[in-house]
């Protein structure tokens, strides 16, 4: 692993945040930011790391002067940009700082671009707002910066709308927009989180390239330690609105001083697959054969083309083992999961659950077979009915299959304990639980049906790494205890490595590689698989053990 | 959020000034183009919108008024209720069986064709199929024919003393003369061509049913030499155009008249007269001194009003003063009148109407009701909600009837529903009715021949369907009466009989004043508002 080991002690300080505090407007609760200190030098990349709610985004918005006025107020401190305290500027002066001296790019390039405006015009708007260049000159500048961010076919993209571009292209537009006036400081708020791993890699490279070219200071906000390892010069760790530790990147990763930082690093799943479980017996609990799903059947006078979401998908899972489906967005992995659950109807193919083909059953015929296969969804906040107590949610399925109410309640209590929650949780409502707890409840609901197969559709993707590790741990234990087969859908190779016995790699609706986890991750055969693995940030670093990854 | 103060101010100013400018422009331009620009046009708001153009097929007053604009009649009634020559002079044979009409010279239809006796005969025949008075004459008609271009000979099988009065009558359906081809339209179908020989020409292109109708002066019309009197005499047109417009909102019309946007309102709302009287440019006056009779009619077919005692009790409970006071308000414009033929008419007589004209007798009504053994059958009272001159009667009467011990089921409905429903002979519970009210122009009820309520022929009678041979006898006696004194004598007995048997309940008379701009002069006092003789000055 090669870290950036540049030193910036001699470089000019671009941004110096001193004792910045932010509170909820009018509130007297704990401050959102509590005496935050951050320094960034010219050409330096500072990563601000923390779990959700730690205050990283608030810090960046405070620097931009974009805090929601009604909600958040700066209560103290200084934000010093090259000797000028931004907090003392009036609206107009602050507006003139933006894009010229400090720029920002955001997490979700789709929503961050105005959907009804051509992207060229959106870049040009920066020049409109801050310069008085003649139109031709403006266009030239825009085309130039678009070339610098390596956009293909600039003339066409100039006149495109955001929805006509790919996610990576949109983020490049954002970067072009941010850098066209060569600001001193670029704030990047989780700029690659919404992107696929291969695209993420390219965008990170682009940011680094442009930073070096223009000497821009970068404040990079992320939750992903892999990204940190790739890009940071200096790392600041945030927790509950405070900076708890900061150090050059290598120092931090090798010798974290704070306990919190250590835990954070230890929670990062390793890319080295865990040992596979043994195949006890060979009972195939789920067997998918030639699955195919086509969306959008042609209608009269309609130009909508049918999309092939999945085809020729075949695999099977044995009792007690975990099969991972890995792929980038649009690869068809979720379509497969939803077809197997019969939440959508497959176009072709067989889905045998407990040796019954359920692919063609009607809703009514299907109901007796439902209990054999259960699902846990990605979003813990939407997967429980907010109006129902946990108890009601847990007994619903059991009652459907003839369990008596008292029996069901008793079992639900036991299940809660099994997933590590107190039994009195039965009487409470979902909003009283954290995301991780809700995901445990969702798992309890699924296993209450005593299923043969549990489908986990990105079940840990929305969770912070520490929570993610716990939930993965729980799934592991349950599988051990109950012998359930798990179909684990994920985009994250690290997670797949930690939970899967076998891995299926999907691309464009097809399976490109299917082998044991160890083989897929350590000896990938297909180019696409290799590309995926190479793009994984920080893949040479063993975060949990604070050292380089030893080649297997 | 950031606030760009300058921008806001600019926007605000812009908005204010755009609005102000629009208002100012509209005001200025509007003032430059006043509504009453044309001194040769009279714009009049009539009592209702003109929708039916066939004056023979309907009895609606507005259509009759329209008829008098564009058609002419053979003979017409003057202010003394006397028939006078209009299009024709007449001669009567000594045996009173042959009437000969001779058309005067110079009569022309609006399409330029001369008016011939053939046209008149066809028109009279169509009228005879529709009008109740006309039907009576045709019942005794031997022949009606055009004996030459200008002569119409009408032979009767037996004498019909009120013959001329009937042909000359102004309500509800006068025998308007149309071209033969139009008059040959079956009397159950409306005519499709609107050509007359009257003093005004109907401007078809500008006609909007229910909204406005325009008339132009007929240049070739030759008025008679005599002074105009009611529907008779010389119809001299002094303006180029008359435009009738409808204003569904009474207040709008009042304001428009005060503002000079219109020239005339036929029947302004009584309660709004103070506004008009406050304007120096407007004159409020009574045009038609006879005015209207308001009345109630019971259904003779169904309980409780199939019982004469209960009808009498109801009549006893009613008070003309209460009805008129609520309907009209200002005593200047109404008078209690117990005469079924109207007060101020030759046959008017108030026998039997004592309780009606003296405020009602609730106690007497109670007693009578008890005596009649009223069993609490509810009186289904139909209340029109959309005709302002008919909303008060049911409401006031319902209260009186309730005080007397009746059970009243007042059912509100629009006038058109009422018109439909009163034709239903079913029991009240099955879509029928017991009592309703309507208004008549006094000339329409001023004699037993024209008064529709006095028909006692059961199912063929007017709504309510009294089957009363005695009533028919009295009517026949009246028709046969050959002197004014004899007629008056029969009329008096009819009056007494009607009130005693409560054939219908006269609830008094009212005179709706008209309102005109002072620039409008020479309006004739007449039951039908006419626009000849009228002048518009600057």
């Amino acid at each position: 692993m090669r870290f950036k080991n540049r030193r910036f002690d001699d470089a000019d300080r671009v941004l110096n945040i001193r004792d910045l505090s932010v509170s909820l407007s009018g509130g007297h609760q704990r401050p959102i930011l509590d005496k935050v200190n951050v320094t960034i030098h010219q050409g330096e990349t500072v990563c601000l790391v923390g779990e959700s709610g730690s205050g990283k985004s608030v810090t960046s918005l405070a620097v931009m002067g974009l805090l929601t006025k009604d909600a958040l107020t700066v209560t103290g401190g200084v934000i010093d940009l090259e000797g000028q305290n931004l907090l003392e500027l009036d609206h107009k002066a602050m507006r003139q700082m933006r894009a010229r001296r400090i720029s920002m790019i955001f997490q979700e390039p789709m929503t961050a671009l105005n959907p009804v405006m051509q992207v060229g015009a959106q870049i040009e708007e920066v020049l409109d707002s801050h310069t008085k260049l003649p139109p031709r000159e403006k266009k030239k500048r825009v085309v130039d910066i678009m070339n610098q961010v390596h956009l293909p076919d600039v003339e066409r993209i100039y006149n495109s709308y955001p929805h006509q571009l790919s996610g990576g292209q949109r983020q490049r537009i954002m970067i072009a927009m941010a850098l066209i006036l060569e600001p001193k400081l670029l704030i990047a708020d989780e700029p690659t989180t919404a992107l696929d791993v291969t695209t993420q890699n390219q965008v990170l490279a682009l940011i680094t390239e442009l930073q070096e070219k223009h000497g821009t200071a970068v404040l990079f906000i992320t939750h992903d330690m892999g990204v940190v390892a790739e890009i940071a010069d200096t790392v600041y760790v945030m927790k509950d609105g405070q900076i708890i530790e900061h150090a050059p990147v290598e120092t931090l990763l090798r010798h974290p001083t704070e306990e919190y930082t250590r835990r954070l690093l230890q929670a990062v799943p390793s890319l080295i697959p865990r040992p596979a479980r043994e195949r006890n017996g060979a009972v195939e609990v789920l067997d998918v054969e030639g699955l195919r799903k086509v969306y959008g059947i042609r209608r009269l006078f309609s130009r909508a083309k049918p999309t092939l979401a999945a085809q020729d998908v075949s695999f099977s899972i044995i009792r007690g083992r975990t099969l991972g489906i890995v792929g980038e967005s649009g690869s068809g992995k979720s379509t497969v999961a939803r077809c197997i659950m019969r939440l959508i109807d497959p176009t072709e193919g067989e889905i045998r659950v407990a040796s019954t083909d359920i692919a063609r059953l009607s809703r009514r015929e299907l109901r007796p077979h439902r209990r054999h296969i259960q699902i846990v969804f990605q979003d813990p906040f939407r997967s429980l009915n907010p109006r129902w107590t946990i108890g009601q949610s847990l007994i619903e399925g059991q009652l459907n299959y003839g369990t008596s109410r008292s029996e069901a309640i008793k079992r639900s209590g036991e299940l809660l304990e099994l997933v590590g929650l107190p039994a009195d949780a039965l009487k409470r409502y979902p909003h009283q639980f954290s995301g991780g707890q809700r995901q445990r409840i969702a798992i309890a609901r699924a296993i209450a049906m005593r299923p043969d197969v549990l489908v986990a559709d990105e079940a840990v993707s929305a969770l912070d790494v520490s929570v993610q590790a716990q939930v993965l741990q729980l799934l592991d234990e349950l599988q051990e205890k109950l012998g359930i087969a798990i179909l684990f859908i994920t985009h994250d190779l690290r997670v797949a490595a930690q939970i899967c016995d076998e891995v299926v790699v999907m691309q464009h609706g097809r399976i490109v590689e299917h082998d044991t986890a160890a083989n897929v991750l350590m000896h990938p055969q297909h180019d696409y698989t290799r590309a995926l693995i190479e793009a994984a940030p920080g893949r040479h670093w063993d975060f949990a053990n604070f050292k380089e990854l030893e080649p297997a | 959020m950031f606030i760009d103060k300058t921008f806001h101010r600019r926007w605000h100013n812009a908005r204010t000034s755009v609005f102000a400018a629009a208002l100012a422009a509209a005001t200025a331009l509007g003032a430059a183009a006043p509504a009453h620009a044309d001194p040769d046009t009279i714009t009049a708001v009539m009592h209702s919108g003109l929708r039916v153009l066939d004056p023979i097929i309907t009895t609606a007053h507005i259509t009759r008024n329209h008829g008098y604009m564009i058609y002419d009649v053979l003979i017409a009634e003057d202010e003394n209720f006397e028939p006078q020559p209009q299009m024709a002079d007449w001669e009567v044979s000594d045996d009173n069986l042959v009437y000969t009409f001779t058309l005067r010279d110079g009569l022309k239809f609006h399409d330029g064709a001369p008016v011939t006796a053939e046209d008149a005969v066809a028109s009279l025949k169509r009228w005879g199929e529709r009008d109740s008075g006309g039907q009576l004459i045709f019942d005794v008609t031997e022949s009606l024919e055009a004996t030459d271009e200008k002569t119409i000979t009408w032979k009767l099988k037996e004498p019909f003393p009120p013959f001329l009065e009937t042909v000359a009558k102004q309500s509800a359906v006068p025998p308007f003369i149309m071209p033969k081809r139009v008059a040959e339209t079956p009397s159950s179908e409306p005519i499709k061509e609107y050509i007359g020989s009257g003093p005004f020409v109907f401007v078809e292109e500008e006609y909007q049913p229910g909204v406005s109708v325009t008339y132009e002066k007929f240049a070739d019309y030759v008025p008679r030499e005599e002074e105009a009197s009611w529907m008779a005499g010389g119809k001299v047109v002094n303006v180029e155009r008359v435009k009738w417009v409808t204003m569904p909102d009474a207040q709008t019309a009042i304001n428009a008249l005060v503002a000079g946007e219109i020239d005339y309102i036929e029947q302004p709302q009584f309660d709004l007269l103070p506004i008009l009287q406050g304007s120096p440019d407007v004159t409020v006056e009574v045009r038609d001194t006879l005015g209207y009779q308001t009345m109630g009619r019971m259904n003779f077919k169904h309980p409780p009003f199939d019982n004469v005692k209960i009808r009498q009790a109801a009549l006893m409970a009613m008070s003309q003063e209460d009805v008129l006071g609520t309907l009209v308000g200002n005593p200047e414009y109404y008078s209690v009148c117990g005469a079924i033929f109207g007060c101020g008419t030759p046959l008017g007589d108030e026998t039997g109407a004592e309780t009606l004209t003296s405020g009602g007798d609730i106690e007497g009504a109670k007693a009578l009701l008890e005596e009649a053994g009223y069993d609490g059958t509810p009186v289904v009272l139909m209340q029109p909600t959309d005709v302002t001159t008919l909303t008060a009667q049911p409401v006031v009467t319902a209260q009186a009837l309730r005080e007397a011990g009746f059970k009243v089921d007042m059912q509100p409905m629009d006038w058109q529903t009422l018109v439909t429903r009163r034709a239903s002979m079913s029991p009240p519970a099955e879509g029928g009715w017991n009592l309703f009210f309507t208004n008549w122009m006094v000339p329409e009820i001023s004699s037993p021949i024209v008064n529709p309520m006095l028909n006692g022929r059961g199912d063929e009678a007017w709504f309510g369907w009294p089957d009363d041979p005695k009533l028919e006898e009295l009517r026949a006696e009246f028709i046969a009466a050959d002197s004014v004194e004899a007629q008056k004598e029969v009329a008096k007995r009819l009056q007494a009989y009607t009130l005693e048997n409560v054939i219908y309940v006269p609830l008094g008379q009212y005179v709706p004043p008209q309102a005109r701009r002072n620039t409008i002069t020479g309006m004739l006092p007449s039951p039908v508002p006419v626009f000849w003789n009228v002048d518009k000055t600057e």
Partner: protein, 313 residues
């Protein structure tokens, strides 16, 4: 795009067909006899029967319906039972005032309401926001005719700036037209302005919370461009939608306003026809107003594709 328009137009057919059946049945179940209305006070039962027959009211309902639809498909809306005028020509002479007043109202409303809503959203929770919101709630809370009377009282009777009533065609002079159309338009506009301002504000508030607005501000774009270039255009789809659905309110308002201001438009024509049970006119009018409503909303749906490039059908 063309395919979408054709599909949308085809989808209109069942809607209009259901409207036609519904209206026809509704009317035939209504008590009320145009013959009685036509014949007047002195008609005898026998005369009524003859008139009824000549009007074709004695045929069985389904025959009447088939006859009506048959003629309708040939573009014949029938003839008024009462005035004996072709319905087509009645509509022809009465539709212009309504269209003119309606169009002017929409223009006035949009010109007033959209800036109102934008300003209110922009200065969210300022006095101006409360003023706009108060006005918009008030606009919903006062009956149209009361507003009309109050405007007449102020501008025509007290100030004498504008005529009390009436209608003048633009061909009679633009001044005459505007001076008469202004008050009815303002009356009608009250509720429409309330509706649009409210929707503009709500939809703009939502858009102002979007990421791209934050992006625009992060670019240092001036606030007025943030509002009108970025936010308003993105908020336009719901605003257009409300203009379309509010069109129904406008039609209701027109019916009342035409009575108050004595405008010879189709609103009054319809009310008069309903009260007189003039079946062919009622049928034609309800079909026509429904068709206009459907058509306006079709246009608005199509306009989405111009406002928002993401919407492609």
């Amino acid at each position: 795009m063309l395919g979408y328009i054709i599909r949308r137009i085809l989808a209109v057919i069942p809607v209009m067909a259901i409207v036609a059946v519904f209206v026809f049945l509704l009317l035939r179940l209504t008590p009320g006899d145009p013959a009685a209305i036509l014949a007047g006070d002195m008609a005898t039962p026998e005369q009524l029967a003859r008139i009824r027959e000549s009007l074709g009211l004695t045929d069985p309902i389904h025959i009447q319906f088939i006859n009506w639809v048959g003629r309708l498909l040939q573009g014949d809306l029938g003839t008024s039972l009462i005035s004996n005028t072709p319905v087509m020509s009645m509509i022809g002479s009465r539709i212009w005032p309504t269209l003119q007043v309606g169009t002017l109202t929409i223009i006035i409303s949009v010109l007033i309401a959209v800036p109102m809503g934008v300003i209110a959203a922009w200065r969210h929770r300022s006095w101006i926001d409360y003023a706009v919101m108060s006005f918009s709630v008030l606009g919903f809370s006062v009956p149209v005719f009361v507003i009309g009377y109050i405007l007449i009282k102020i501008f025509s009777i007290e100030l004498r700036w504008l005529p009390v009533q009436g209608y003048a065609s633009p061909s009679d002079g633009i001044g005459a037209f505007f001076s008469r159309a202004l008050l009815p338009c303002l009356t009608l506009a009250t509720i429409y302005v309330a509706l649009i301002a409210r929707m503009t504000r709500a939809s703009l508030l939502e858009v102002l919370g979007e990421d791209y607005v934050r992006t625009a501000r992060a670019k240092g774009v001036k606030e007025k461009y943030v509002l009108f270039r970025h936010a308003l255009r993105n908020a336009a789809v719901p605003i257009m939608t409300i203009i379309g659905t509010g069109f129904a309110l406008l039609i209701s308002g027109v019916v009342v306003t035409e009575s108050v201001f004595n405008i010879p438009g189709i609103g009054r024509l319809t009310v008069d026809a309903i009260l007189a049970r003039d079946y062919p006119v009622i049928q034609a009018m309800i079909l026509l107003t429904s068709a206009i409503y459907v058509f306006v909303n079709l246009l608005i749906d199509i306009s989405y594709t111009f406002i928002d490039p993401r919407i492609r059908y």
